[in-house]
């Protein structure tokens, strides 16, 4: 078994860590921006959220935006899982093989 120093110097490990942390933090920030954007609308723009989509329509922007936040949570998670399944698992397997 290779020592942790050897693994840390493995270029594949460096690639795994930098790629994963950039996508993980980017997606986390995206989720935070979407959610706290929504919360700020709730706090400061109640009127906007309660505005109907059009004349004679009952559905409001708030309903669409709320739905969008829910769906975006699922989609962002899906993006990460897809990327991780395709790329990170492969890299990890190679690193583990090379460390034996």
């Amino acid at each position: 078994m290779a020592s942790y120093e050897t693994i840390m110097n493995n270029p594949k490990f460096k690639a795994l860590v930098s790629e994963r942390s950039s996508i993980a933090w980017a997606l986390s920030i995206a989720m935070l921006v979407i959610y706290f954007g929504f919360i700020l609308l709730v706090a400061y723009a109640k009127g906007f959220l309660a505005t109907p989509l059009g004349a004679g329509v009952t559905t409001t922007y708030g309903i669409l935006i709320g739905l969008f936040v829910i769906i975006s949570a699922f989609i962002l998670t899906g993006i990460y899982v897809r990327k991780a399944n395709a790329r990170f698992d492969d890299l990890t397997r190679q690193i583990v093989e090379e460390s034996k």
Binding site: F38, A43, A50, P52, T58, T60, I63, T77
Partner: protein, 568 residues
């Protein structure tokens, strides 16, 4: 009236109490004994006891007891996580809140969902790679064991205790209403069944109880939402239009200058920006610090399955919250307009029999008749049972694995002794839960799940995530920051209007802290405390802690050295 406030309080636990108390004006109804519901619940109990018997035969090792030996698949675990999360508070409380206030219910749903992506991106895989049985395994990975284990166990037990009280009181009240059974019986039944599931079946039984319940709940809620949509020709617009026509708040609850349809936009639930942000933080990051949820990541084989399980869970939970929104609006249109479900038809929507938390239950009757009503009632009871089992297992694990095996025995505990301590702890926690359920019967427990989320977000979550990502963290920083978060969250809740005014009975407006949720401040204290006291720490132990980061980092990223699934 008092009972109803407590029921509502217990179920809609994170909501500001004052808003809820105003909203309930139905009289207490002594329900007739509901036989279809009781029979279906008995069927659920028999099935789950059968599973417990099966699980008990294979639960021999500590790994089996705590984590089902890592033998749960990502999909199964996704259902179980969703099951842990879709509590009676979510189902009855959120649909009840939508029924009363419309859009405000959606604000809570969204907050409870958005923590999951963060868990996926930052926590799920390192957690699985570093830990074995409890999240304290991860938080204490490179630190001095005793202080961090004590901190994590304190965070776990306090979170579990508040969550449990809310669930027990909710269960008692709910069963009183649904089955026409006395409060005490209900609390005893829940306590006894949960002790049986956990002590005999461990995590295997707890997981399968949760999976079965999640499937039943998702199926039942899907059927209700479908029937509501059928009634409106699959047009949400038609559903909303009808709801605005019949809802009394549609005109009254709007914000100045806004659409008069007050149920289609934010109402009075969240008043000031600081409270809104603070609540948002607690809902989002509390998820990532709930011990019974974090424990689920150790039940799968590896980091890949852990990641998949959160993806499934996020999908199920998001779908479920969309259903509760439709169910709430369905109840506005189909329940509040039917005198059969109202105590006083002249008073309209607010006079719903049994209070707003019964909105989903009455809707079940309206769209599916008495048998479906029985089914949904039984599922609601099963939900509470499954959630308290998961909570109790998490609490018992903190006692046996973190406090007994690691702190008392210095990591050299005999495995069978550790399991025995865990089972004893389960029984003790079960008995305590029943006693607390009885003590708090007539207390307002609305703040307790909110408090559990705040503590999880302010103590468990900061210590966990900083230990995974912050190289410079030391034992001293973790302990001081963690306890700062724990203490400030507790104090912040006690001094907030929800407890200071509504529970302790002080004058309105006299609460020392005006915000309903402390998370904004307590999370800042926890993160700031961890950072500052780690920076100031120049002890030898601190140097050792920092040096431990690299080996930990390699393992958290690659899973090399991670504890694997045990043989079956």
């Amino acid at each position: 009236m008092k009972k109803l406030s407590t029921l509502s309080a217990a179920l809609l636990t994170a909501a500001p109490t004052a808003a809820m108390a105003d909203a309930i004006s139905g009289a207490v109804q002594k329900q007739a004994t509901n036989w279809p519901a009781i029979l279906m619940f008995l069927a659920f109990v028999l099935l789950t006891l059968g599973i417990t018997y099966w699980a008990a035969r294979q639960t021999k090792s500590a790994a089996q007891f705590y984590t089902a030996g890592g033998g749960i698949t990502g999909f199964q675990n996704g259902l179980a996580i969703a099951g842990d999360y879709m509590s009676a508070a979510s189902f009855l409380g959120i649909s009840g809140l939508v029924y009363l206030s419309g859009y405000d219910g959606l604000i809570y749903s969204v907050g409870w969902l958005v923590g999951w992506p963060i868990v996926t991106f930052l926590i799920a895989e390192p957690l699985r790679n570093l830990g074995k049985f409890t999240f304290a395994d991860v938080a204490s990975f490179r630190f001095s064991q005793t202080p961090i284990r004590v901190l994590a166990a304190a965070g776990t037990l306090v979170t579990v205790a508040f969550y449990l009280i809310a669930q027990m009181v909710g269960a008692g009240k709910l069963i009183q209403l649904l089955f026409g059974m006395p409060y005490l019986y209900a609390v005893f039944i829940v306590g006894a069944l949960m002790i049986i599931y956990v002590t005999f079946g461990g995590m295997v039984a707890t997981t399968w109880v949760q999976i079965i319940k999640a499937v039943l709940l998702l199926g039942g809620a899907s059927f209700m939402a479908l029937m509501v949509l059928v009634a409106f020709g699959f047009s949400p617009e038609a559903l909303f239009t009808k709801a605005v026509q019949v809802h009394p708040k549609a005109a009254a609850n709007g914000v100045a200058g806004a659409n008069p349809a007050g149920i289609m936009g934010p109402g009075s639930l969240i008043s000031d920006p600081i409270s809104a942000i603070s609540l948002g933080l607690a809902l989002m990051f509390g998820t990532a610090g709930l011990p019974h949820i974090l424990m689920r990541f150790f039940t799968v084989a590896d980091a890949k399955e852990a990641r998949k399980s959160v993806f499934y869970a996020t999908g199920f939970i998001g779908y479920f919250y969309i259903l509760t929104f439709i169910i709430g609006f369905g109840a506005i249109t189909l329940v509040s307009t039917n005198p059969e479900f109202l105590t006083d038809p002249a008073k309209g929507l607010a006079a719903i029999k049994g209070g707003s938390n019964m909105a989903a239950i009455h809707l079940a009757n309206a769209v599916g008749g008495n048998v479906f009503l029985g089914f949904i009632s039984a599922v609601a009871f099963a939900t509470i049972l499954a959630v308290v089992s998961g909570l109790t297992l998490a609490g018992a694990s903190a006692i046996s694995h973190d406090l007994y095996a690691t702190v008392v025995k210095g990591g050299k505990a005999n495995e069978q002794d550790e399991i025995r301590i865990s089972k004893i702890s389960t029984v003790v926690l079960g008995v305590i839960a029943v006693i607390l359920g009885i003590i708090f019967e007539n207390q307002n427990v609305a703040f307790m799940v909110g408090l559990a989320f705040s503590i999880a977000a302010s103590c468990n979550f900061p210590v966990l995530i900083m230990s995974i990502f912050f190289r410079g963290m030391t034992t001293r920083g973790a302990v001081i920051g963690g306890f700062l978060g724990l203490a400030s969250a507790l104090i912040g809740v006690v001094l907030s209007p929800a407890v200071w005014v509504d529970v302790l009975g002080n004058a309105k407006g006299s609460a020392p802290i005006p915000w309903s949720n402390p998370a904004l401040i307590s999370m800042a204290l926890a993160f700031g405390g961890i950072w500052l006291f780690s920076k100031l720490d120049s002890s030898a132990r601190g140097a050792e802690d920092k040096a431990g980061f690299d080996p930990q980092y390699v393992r958290s990223q690659t899973g090399i050295g991670a504890s694997g699934a045990s043989a079956h």
